[in-house]
């Protein structure tokens, strides 16, 4: 299993300088991939823009959306953005897409929410036909999401949670893959949040998660409580995911301070 790190594109107070420096350090560190989140109605840097910035200052590290909300973009635009990051990074890009969890993102984009699944399928069919060289991951938990993944993607992007939850989703992904007659097996990517530092810093991380997930109601507390705030917690989770056959685990930051890259690198050692 490879371990990746998230770019701070949705954490409070991010900046161009931070993202560039973060990407440089990650490129020099033990990380497989730089991942970004996508949220329209939230103070954040648009994911393809963030990855473009990262592409410009890195040589080696992979770049991935974990995930981009496909349907809030027009299909041709989505394909263009994906292809652009692929070109800017000389082929280091992986496109993770899903329908996302927030209705207001759709409202803001002026896109119908009801048809989001069908639209995502159309986008995937388009990407597969027109942008054959961009690896694709699909996320989501419904049966429809798993079959969409197995039909069009190279692998599955899991939304986070304990290793047990990942394992159960991974079994579904493999079952769907087999059912659709795909050769080999799906790539399996996971993600989790972390904040490494003193109590002040981890409190900031928690506050961010409560805010970012406020729309889910009480679930926000669940996400915040799962934030990995000790080296031990990080190591346990990494081991748990590796045991369940995860190919790439992206650890997403919850605070905008660049020393998180070094601290995480040290823990992973």
């Amino acid at each position: 299993m490879r371990v990746g790190i998230g770019l701070p594109n949705t954490t409070p107070g991010t900046s161009g300088r931070l993202i560039a420096e973060w990407a440089r350090r990650a490129d020099a560190g033990p990380f497989g991939t730089l991942g970004v989140l996508d949220r329209l109605v939230y103070a954040s840097v648009e994911p393809f823009s963030a990855l473009s910035a990262a592409a410009a200052v890195t040589e080696r590290v992979g770049l991935a959306t974990m995930i981009a909300i496909g349907p809030v973009r027009g299909t041709a635009m989505l394909a263009k953005q994906a292809q652009s990051v692929q070109t800017l990074s000389d082929g280091r890009f992986t496109l993770g897409v899903a329908v996302g969890a927030r209705r207001d993102d759709y409202e803001a984009a002026g896109v119908e929410h009801r048809t989001r699944g069908a639209v995502l399928s159309e986008q995937l069919a388009h990407l597969r036909a027109e942008n054959a060289d961009v690896p694709i991951l699909v996320g989501g938990n419904s049966g429809a999401a798993f079959s969409r993944m197995a039909r069009y993607a190279d692998g599955y992007a899991h939304g986070g949670g304990p290793a047990r939850a990942f394992a159960s989703a991974a079994a579904k992904a493999r079952a769907a893959w087999h059912d659709l007659g795909r050769p080999g097996r799906p790539k399996l990517w996971g993600q989790a949040y972390f904040a490494l530092g003193d109590a002040d810093l981890t409190a900031k991380g928690e506050a961010y998660l409560l805010d970012y997930y406020a729309f889910t109601g009480p679930f926000a507390q669940t996400v915040a409580a799962a934030n990995l705030t000790t080296p031990r917690a990080v190591k346990d989770l990494v081991r748990g995911y590796a045991n369940e056959g995860c190919d790439e685990l992206i650890l997403l930051p919850t605070v905008s301070s660049v020393d998180q890259v070094d601290r995480l690198a040290e823990v992973l050692g």
Partner: protein, 684 residues
Amino acid sequence: MRPLRVSVLGAGPAGLYLSLLLKKAQPAHEITVLERNPADATYGWGVVFSEETLGALRDADQASYLEITDTFARWDAIDIRYRDRTLRSRGHSFSAIARRTLLGITQRRCREVGVRLEFGTEVTDPSTLDGDLVVAADGVNSLIRRAQDKVFGGRITPQGCKYVWYGTDLVFDAFTFLFKETEHGLFQVHGYPFDEDTSTFIVECPRHTWESAGLDKMDEAQSMAFCADLFADELGGHELKSNKSLWLDFPRLVTKHWHSANPDGSRTVLLGDSAHTAHFTIGSGTKLAMEDAIALAAAVDRHTDLGAALVDYELERKPVIDRFQQAAASSADYFERVSRHTGLDPLPFAFNLLTRSGRIGHASLSVRDPSFVRAVDSWFGTAGESTTAVCPPPLFTPFRVGELVLRNRIVQDTPGGGLLLVGTEPVTEDGRRTPSDGLKWTAVLESAQGAAVGLRIGHAGRRGATREPVHGVDVPLPAEQAWPLVAASPIPYGPRSAVPRELDAEGMVRIRDAFVAMARKAVDFDLLELDMAHGFLLGGFLSPLTNKRADCYGGDLDARLRYPLEVLRAVREAWSKPLSVRLSVTDWSARGTTPDEGVAMAHAMAQAGADLIHVAAGQTVPEGMPDYRRGFLTPLADRVRSEAGVPTMVGGYLTTLDEVNTVIAAARADLCVLAPPDREWTTP
């Protein structure tokens, strides 16, 4: 945790046990339990516990553990009385206790440690409950949960059979399942002892049977008399006892969230049945309620922040509950449809029952009761002749289909199993899925290593002319490389798919003849399979979603079956060896083929000469709602096998030999397609 004021609504097992544990850990907590019933009034009779739960109870509170286990009825056998025979399986370790006794013990312990208990207090307005923490332990119809339905997101649906919970003075010496055939349908009893002189006696039957027997119109006394009469032989003079025992639907409850933060800073948490239920046929509700209490009390003790404690509690318990609810669903479904298994011999019937929820399989049952599993293996190995001969596990028993004898029950698309099944081989050029479709037959046949070799043949229909599956399936070829498609109706398959031409009369003859021609050519194969699944050409005729024809090949199920059956009959005439049909027995899609229709289709195929149904599902349309997990097709194969009365082959992501042994021994299918990932077995 700082001292808390806690209001607990409901003095069932969940509420009482939590209060006890909280107070024990932190005597400064002020805890009040409110219960509408008097202290000694309760519904129901005995409840069962497993070994695992007992360990947790011992660690949580030694004093109540000793008292509870002291009054326990303990036994290790399961009796299955079916067709005048009783089969006994041992090694299961059950313990049971009267609900009344359990509550009595926990009430006493609560008083000892200083929990305030207020009985006879019905709460009608949850906002009158105050404290830092309000605990909803008020059962499945929880007032607290319903008052904040938006926050907790609870959903109740009836699950399984109609049931009524009696007691009896007949003391069983095993967990006892009784099955009774009547003119109205099958009734079954779940009986188990819970003290020296009483047993639980739950009677259940499907709703239609219940109505047909007129039980919907009977009162409490009449119903009990009916049941006592029905099971008079088994009761042998003993009585049934009612405790406000009425026929009920089991309410399956799932909730999205188990806790909330209130505007005044206090918190509310759901516990036990108010958060979730698990069908009583896996007998786990009380155990889950008490384990919830243990987890919550421990989390409160561990954390300094109450909110964090509740999050932790939910995180720990949800996955466990999910697993039990999945098993409970399988079990409830099993009992609702168990009458379809009455064609099975007692041994496979019993094995099927014991493995119904997926929590026990062939391997784990072998550990609990090796002699029972040996009998099952022997029954399989000798085709029902003996239950004592020493035989290998069921997957290694040969399977006969027509003249062909497969050496074991494993089917794979690479050599190694009993049947090497390859394909789908397109019967015509325009029936290819991808440009490279088409196998090298000689190479396949030579690679078989002694296994039988089957060839699946088909026509891709509207799923044709797509790219190689390396980067996805159903991605159409660029227009200049594609060929024209045909289908039952001119509806494209997925996004960007070409619109197929409606197959005309001439085309139907051409393709039928191509199936026959390929069957004739395939003489060197041992088995032929027709692909009628997954929305390919023939499957497209079967589904109302994809067949909109106005001629005699479209319309009701008989009309939709017409062309596929014509093809099947024509092939049957040209092919004398075993013939299999791969069939999507449900579309997993609104207004599509339902499993009931799927069973009818399978039956029609068998009538028309199919020897075997290879059970598949979905893919008829790309936007279906499949339920992917390990063994996701097994329940469907079971239905087809028992209801259509035809041998079945099933895949559905079976990856271990134990799964295969379990499926085969339970007679849910006759052959299993093993998925590649964990291919860890070797031939004996």
